[in-house]
């Protein structure tokens, strides 16, 4: 394709005059008057805020996706009245209509009934009745006011008014443990959401000025004894940190679906403690809005430290500007210190003269150098970097090449560091850059399959994997990373052979019985 061809092609991609007229007519019907009034009283715009508004709006429009046929709704079928619209009994309504209706009635008491709604290819009955004080269930504090619920033989539907600010209701449909309508979901007390879901939720708050409070709640959950958890005191964020937090969230919202897919594969991995027990550290971030709505999301700083590869969301959090979100990863619980240490892996710590302070180093420690690599790219001799203790201070760098090459690389790294005790070294078969190239190719293949509607690859990421609940790396140390690809079980052998021939053991293929539902990834 030449540039001229490209530009010429774009020039031809125009909208017909008739279509434009149709849109103008429809828009004028929708709200021309309102727009004129708003423009006349507009005080000007703040870019950040409007960007947030538009993202929130984008979230809302996602709700206009018609579940029945898998395509977005036409937008012109929404209600056009300023008053509460009562949908006649037995009439099918689109979700968009429901949303609009609930938006209109938001701050008021609910005075309408919606008898039938088409969602997920099913006809579900909903009743939105008058809201009375005693019907505001306890869950309201966490989930917004529960407006209505539906319990079918297999599916459950719930409509919540999540945000007191907008008065919007959100419909959540659940069937067989899977959540069908991605952005409509309940907010369980704990749970790990996909990045998109978290952000969509977080985006109900338009800016730090609307945050009443942001809380860090640090919890250690030992999965060997389910339900047992030790909570340490909550830490409220300062105004500055709230601002920082919000900006980070705003930045993360731009993650591409591919980047989000990358993290999916990791979300079910467990982290092992020193004695081999299954253990995990979860961190909850709660946002309490000025209206009292509580928004919570969860992340796992240990995974953040261990699995940077392909784990975009968490690696974003480890960036210098967001370091405050992960620096407490080494949790010293009052009930006893929990060490998050990787299995014995033969990593060589730096000792003796090599470990002496080096004032000439450009980076204070390996953590800083790692950060630099994250931002500017890894040298080709680095296989990967991981944490042995769950923190970001003491990291193991695996090196590729012959013994001589590794020795040279080791020296190069140590020369850059002031504090050299914070780093250990290990061997790796493949360079991280090499693996990333392979990963890019596979992700491209995934995208093509997705576009063609023939999805066989469910996920791909760089890192370790979990076999029967045990975290395992690769290579002789069992700590090296590989490209881990999840494919449909029916094509496992085909892909295993194909990738082995094409990439050798750079790729590890695992089978999954059915496509994972990314709408709500609950950490077990």
């Amino acid at each position: 394709m030449t540039k001229q061809e490209y530009i010429g092609w774009l020039d031809q991609l125009s909208v017909s005059e008739e279509k434009q007229e149709e849109w103008i007519r429809r828009l004028k019907e929708e709200g021309g008057k309102e727009t004129a009034e708003r423009r006349q009283r507009a005080p000007g715009c703040r870019w950040i805020r409007t960007a947030v508004c538009c993202l929130a709006a984008a979230v809302l429009v996602l709700g206009a996706v018609k579940a029945g046929d898998g395509k977005p709704d036409g937008a012109g079928d929404g209600p056009q009245s300023d008053t509460v619209t009562v949908i006649p009994e037995e009439k099918e309504v689109s979700r968009q209509q429901l949303e609009s209706l609930l938006e209109e009635t938001g701050p008021q008491e609910m005075g309408m009934e919606i008898r039938r709604i088409q969602a997920g290819g099913k006809i579900l009955e909903y009743e939105v009745k008058e809201m009375e004080g005693d019907k505001k269930e306890e869950a309201g504090q966490l989930k917004g006011e529960l407006l209505t619920s539906y319990q079918g033989p297999e599916e459950t539907g719930r409509a919540y008014r999540i945000s007191g600010r907008t008065g919007l209701a959100y419909l959540f449909l659940e069937e067989g443990g899977h959540n069908y309508l991605g952005r409509f979901f309940e907010m369980p007390e704990t749970g790990t959401f996909t990045v998109g879901e978290m952000l969509e939720l977080v985006y109900q708050v338009r800016g730090p000025e609307e945050m009443h409070q942001v809380i860090f709640r640090k919890t250690n959950v030992d999965n060997t004894e389910r339900g047992q958890s030790i909570q340490v005191p909550e830490v409220s964020l300062t105004e500055e940190e709230k601002e920082q937090f919000f900006r980070m969230v705003e930045k993360l919202v731009s993650l591409s679906p591919e980047q989000q897919e990358n993290r999916e594969i990791h979300s079910a991995w467990d982290v092992y403690g020193e004695t081999g027990e299954v253990a995990k550290v979860l961190r909850f971030v709660d946002i309490i809005t000025a209206e009292g709505d509580l928004i919570r999301f969860t992340y796992d700083p240990v995974q953040a430290a261990l699995y940077q590869g392909g784990y975009q969301f968490f690696s974003e959090m480890t960036e210098e500007e967001n370091k405050w979100m992960t620096e407490t990863a080494q949790i010293d619980l009052s009930a006893g210190t929990v060490q998050w240490k990787a299995p014995e892996d033969g990593a060589e710590p730096v000792t003796g003269k090599e470990a002496e302070e080096n004032p000439a180093g450009s980076f204070r420690n390996i953590s800083e150098l790692y950060q630099y690599w994250t931002d500017h790219g890894y040298p080709d001799y680095v296989g990967d970097v991981y944490s042995k203790d769950g923190g970001t201070e003491n990291l193991v760098v695996s090196l590729t090449g012959t013994e001589e090459e590794r020795k040279a690389a080791r020296k190069e790294i140590l020369d850059l560091l002031q504090n050299r005790k914070s780093v250990s070294f290990q061997r790796a078969a493949y360079s991280r850059n090499d693996l990333c190239t392979v990963l890019d190719e596979i992700i491209q293949e995934m995208s093509e399959q997705s576009a063609a509607g023939t999805v066989q690859i469910y996920g791909a990421g760089l890192g370790w994997t979990s076999v029967n609940g045990t975290v395992t790396g690769f290579g002789e140390s069992k700590k090296e990373s590989r490209v881990v690809v999840t494919v449909d079980a029916s094509v496992y052998e085909e892909y295993e052979k194909r990738y082995r021939e094409r990439y050798g053991d750079r790729v590890y293929v695992q089978a999954e019985e059915e496509a994972p539902h990314h709408d709500l990834a609950v950490m077990e």
Binding site: T2, E30, A36, G453
Partner: protein, 158 residues
Amino acid sequence: MELPMAGDTYIDYIVRTYSGMIYRIAYQNLQIKCDAEDVVQEVLIKVLKGPVFTEERALKAWLIRVTVNHCRNVTRYYSRHKTEPLTETETAGAPEDRRLLEELARLSADERNMIYLHYYEGYTAREIGEMLDKKENTVSSRIRRARKKLKFMLEEGE
């Protein structure tokens, strides 16, 4: 440039000035004409419900950002839900159109948008970064990568 203030004129202006741009972004992302038209309609409705702009530049940037995000949401939705294969009538018609779309399909959505904004709309990497919330360096490298994939403009020494 001052934007028209009156409601009807404002709508006329937005539709006539920007529906083409929104459509081009949407079509490159979704590659289905009726879906792209739906996106245009959705985005235009957001103009009514969204923030009010007094500056052309801010409005255009906002529209681009909303369109890109909306396409992302639609794509994300499709990627999570099984959809029926497209029939011949729903796909791009002309062979030339199909060929170009196939070439563009080699790019990620971000790359497609960046290429478009840079080469068609004339935005700099920095401006694109601000609009799409990416670092300037990221935008530059993605544009480079996209050019490499498309193998275009290389002959022109750009």
